[in-house]
């Protein structure tokens, strides 16, 4: 289209021309490689690879979806050990082959996305164990941009599912840009109101005045000093009213449905929360509302013919330790308790090894 003279390339121009060419080619390659490598470096593909690798070793009997409760606590000096729930369970039931998903965030949505990786294998597990964390239904978890786990879900699709072009956009958006910060900023400007409590501006709930000493769970005698902050946190985390139409419950329904469609078994358990401290700082309403919310889950699960192992108020306060306090993270004794309870159910009918 252009006559040769248009570019008027001289000898010295040639190096400039190749410089610009290399810049644009490099830009495309670096950007493309970045988008390709990033998904491989994230946690989700590691989880998937770990699952696939574990399957390669034999026929697993049980897949345990994990969350942060499964792991050792972050305040090591307060903990008495570092065993995770899946390793404790494996010790309790040595005759079973285990596959544990080490994914650390409790989200039914992500569990639902991860499930096909296991179920579409030639040798799917006979049992699926799904933990239910009561905090994961809270207003914060439902709305906080980072907890929507959009990036995680895009990564799962890229690595294991049907890739959409939009997923690469999501990877770029959340992995390389400040989009999440911006969304978080908008989120902080909202107001939080539960049917029974008005917590006010969210910014206040997340500002420095709400910080607790990192070792507070190890120093229970100091808790009284932080009564107001602890009360607010207990309300914020647990005293929502769970709607049966909550999207996370919808994902739980889908998980149960998928497992049942495959003629496999599923066990749902509710992880313990610090009920005694909740009652201490909030009052009797705490137990009432939490039990009501667990009841919603129980109804849903049992209506689908699946048993629910409810451990929500089975542990005293001393077994809850976390650097931020008001959390379900457990010490070694607490994790042993959960593992023992799961093992007890698994030893009984119909959870014996086929």
């Amino acid at each position: 289209m252009f006559p040769n003279s248009f570019f008027m390339v001289t000898m010295s121009d040639a190096s400039f021309r190749s410089y610009i060419g290399i810049f644009f080619v490099g830009l495309t390659l670096i950007g493309g490689v970045g988008l390709y490598i990033t998904p491989m470096m994230s946690e989700i593909p590691r989880v998937g690879r770990a699952l696939i690798k574990a399957y390669g070793k034999g026929t697993p009997d049980i897949l345990l979806f994990g969350d942060s409760v499964m792991r050792a606590t972050r305040i090591k000096r307060c903990d008495t050990g570092s065993s995770t729930i899946d390793t404790l369970l494996a010790k309790e039931l040595p005759n079973l082959n285990w596959v544990a998903s080490p994914y650390s965030a409790s989200s039914m949505v992500v569990f639902n996305d991860l499930l096909p990786i296991a179920m579409n294998r030639p040798n799917p597990p006979e049992w699926i164990i799904v933990p239910v964390n009561m905090r994961s239904f809270s207003e914060e978890w439902g709305t906080r941009p980072a907890y929507r786990l959009d990036l995680d879900r895009a990564l799962i699709r890229i690595k294991f599912g049907k890739v959409r072009l939009h997923d690469y956009f999501l990877v770029w958006k959340y992995q390389f840009t400040k989009a999440l910060d911006m969304e978080m900023e908008a989120w902080r400007n909202q107001t939080v109101a539960y049917p029974d409590f008005n917590l006010g501006p969210r910014r206040k709930l997340h500002d420095k005045s709400m910080d607790l000493p990192k070792n507070l769970d190890c120093l229970p005698h100091l808790k009284e000093q932080y009564r107001d902050v602890l009360r607010t946190k207990f309300i914020y985390h647990y005293l929502y009213r769970l709607d049966p139409e909550n999207p996370l419950l919808q994902s739980l329904r889908e998980i149960i449905h998928s497992v049942q469609q495959s003629n496999k078994n599923i066990l749902i358990y509710v992880t313990p929360i610090n009920m005694q401290d909740g009652e201490r700082f909030v009052g009797h309403k705490f137990r009432e509302i939490v039990q009501g919310n667990v009841g919603v889950i129980q109804t849903l699960v049992e209506n689908m013919g699946v048993p629910l192992l409810n451990m929500v108020d089975k542990l005293p306060p001393e077994h809850f330790i976390d650097q931020y306090a008001v959390c379900e993270h457990l010490d070694e004794t607490g994790r042993r308790f959960v593992a023992a309870q799961l093992a007890k159910v698994l030893r009984s009918e119909p959870f014996k090894k086929p």
């Binding site: 610009i20 830009l27 400040k178």
Partner: protein, 527 residues
């Protein structure tokens, strides 16, 4: 539209660039310039199309006055030199009137209300973007029109000179002799790969400075200054952290913008003046103002300081002129007493600096070459500290905020270490006594990561070559200013159109794109 926005980088710039060069080939070159003018108006109107009307009115007014001044001289119309001078003053007053109305009206009324207890209502005025820049540019143009120093040109060239988008919004303040001749005399030269390569490199380097460096500093500086405004006590380390973060934020922000302007200009085949030349390396305030916002300094010198008498009325006359120039310079940046104080501080610095030079000259001491390095570096450090202190008032919204931060910097609110540093303390804060909770009670917020970043930028500002030194192998493409200042060979590596540099630039650009999701304003947009 910001230079650091996706719509600029991926749509506006490529479209404008390729159509401009396409038109240059297929049509008379003047059409390409008309395209560039249209694109520049679109760029300006992107924020608020109503601003275009004000800009267009200003252009028409100044060109008409300029035409009157020109004809009066050339054709010796009936205008006498006196009426000619009156026409010039009319032009200047018209420009300053527009600027004052939009920028200083509410400030003026607010002060009258405060001082006299009146309740004169304020206007809800939105400052037209870049008004300070295009007003100063056009005042310079009128002065030279009056003195018959402007080359022959038509209205379309004049419009492009003022509205050329790389410099329109936040400078550099381009004088007519720096751009008009290039527009009027430019002939089609083909598609220059060398200009494109050098311009693109400078643009990306500027973008990196703004998006990756300056915006990170803003995240550190803003909370500290906000805290200072809220009557909070700011501890020593935190206060210095905030002040230094802002010091580097404003430098990398504004010099990044100016680099981008120069790079963009070059991509379209035009040289724009350099605005920054490593100002924090200056070892005196006089030197600092030779390297900081060079085009504004030149403007204030040529159009204010020298006409007021400069240094021609004795020592004290010079000091007075310096003070007045710097105060007006401060006021140019914004309608606020903190800007005036900033200008006064720099005026004082300059007075002291000139006085010190006089003392040195008179008594001849410190001429010895011993300890030259020590003297040089202590002078640089002293200059830098003086500049940092002045920036505190430039950034602060109120005197109270500025003084609170200064008190913190002086240690009057305690000298405490950042919380994150507890890990370097005995037992890493591991025992209960020295736990994080313990330190959290005693320590501030500014962490070691922020300090490492600040120190890294300090090293870049002091020891690294600036963009134009880095590009000094291709000075023939850049303006005369640089050719005078950069003597080669230098110790640092020069940019070359080599594959490794191209790949490095691509890496920088990728990192920039990652941070560009939320384009932030350039600091000088508000001025």
């Amino acid at each position: 539209m910001f230079f650091n926005s996706y719509e600029f980088v991926f749509i506006f710039l490529p479209v404008t660039f390729f159509i401009y060069h396409g038109i240059s080939w297929f049509l008379p070159f003047r059409w390409a310039l008309i395209w560039l003018t249209s694109a520049s108006f679109f760029f300006y109107g992107w924020w608020y199309p109503g601003n275009v009307v004000i800009l267009a009115g200003s252009l028409l007014f100044n060109y008409t006055v300029g035409l009157g001044l020109h004809r009066a001289k050339i054709a010796n119309f009936s205008l006498t030199p006196r009426t000619n001078k009156f026409l010039f003053i009319f032009g200047v007053v018209g420009n300053l009137g527009l600027l004052s109305y939009y920028k200083y009206y509410n400030f003026f009324i607010g002060n009258i209300n405060d001082a006299m207890g009146t309740a004169i209502s304020m206007e809800s005025l939105v400052l037209p973007l870049a008004i300070s820049f295009f007003t100063f540019q056009q005042i310079g143009y009128l002065r030279d029109r009056w003195q018959r120093q402007v080359i022959e040109h038509t209205f379309d060239y004049y419009i492009l000179y003022v509205v050329f988008f790389p410099h329109l919004i936040a400078g550099p303040i381009v004088q007519h002799w720096e751009l008009l001749p290039q527009l009027v005399q430019k002939k089609f030269q083909g598609f220059r790969f060398d200009q494109w390569a050098v311009g693109l490199t400078i643009f990306v380097l500027g973008l990196f400075k703004k998006v990756v460096l300056a915006d990170r500093m803003a995240e550190y500086a803003s909370p500290v200054f906000m805290k200072a405004e809220q009557w909070a006590n700011i501890h020593f380390v935190e206060a210095w952290g905030g002040a230094l973060a802002y010091t580097f934020q404003i430098y990398f922000d504004f010099s990044g913008y100016s680099d981008m302007a120069v790079g963009l200009g070059l991509m379209f085949g035009f040289q724009l003046p350099v605005n920054f030349f490593s100002p924090y390396k200056a070892s005196s305030i006089i030197e600092f103002w030779q390297y900081w916002h060079i085009t504004l300094s030149k403007f204030l010198k040529n159009f204010l300081y020298i006409p007021m008498g400069g240094n021609r009325h004795g020592r004290y006359g010079r000091y007075r002129n310096l003070m007045v120039t710097m105060i007006i310079g401060g006021l140019w940046h914004g309608a606020g007493w903190t800007f005036i104080l900033w200008g006064m501080l720099h005026g004082c610095y300059l007075v002291v600096n000139h006085a010190w030079r006089g003392v040195k000259k008179k008594y001849g001491f410190l001429r010895v070459q011993r300890f030259r390095l020590v003297r040089e570096w202590s002078a640089r450090l002293l200059t830098f500290l003086a500049v940092v202190i002045a920036w505190v008032f430039f950034r602060a919204e109120t005197f109270h905020g500025g003084f609170t931060l200064l008190q913190g910097m002086a240690g009057l609110h305690g000298i405490l270490l950042p919380l994150g540093w507890s890990r370097f303390l005995p037992d890493g804060g591991g025992t209960l006594l020295f736990s994080d909770a313990f330190w959290a009670f005693f320590l501030g917020d500014f962490g070691y990561k922020q300090w490492l970043f600040i120190l890294a930028l300090w090293v870049i500002a002091w020891f690294f070559p600036n963009t134009f030194e880095f590009m000094s192998g291709y000075l023939n493409l850049l303006e005369q200013y640089l050719q005078e200042r950069i003597q080669r060979p230098r110790r640092f590596p020069n940019w070359q159109p080599r594959p490794l540099y191209a790949l490095g630039l691509a890496c920088l650009f990728v990192s920039v794109l990652s941070f560009m999701y939320s384009p932030s304003e350039f600091l000088y947009f508000q001025f």
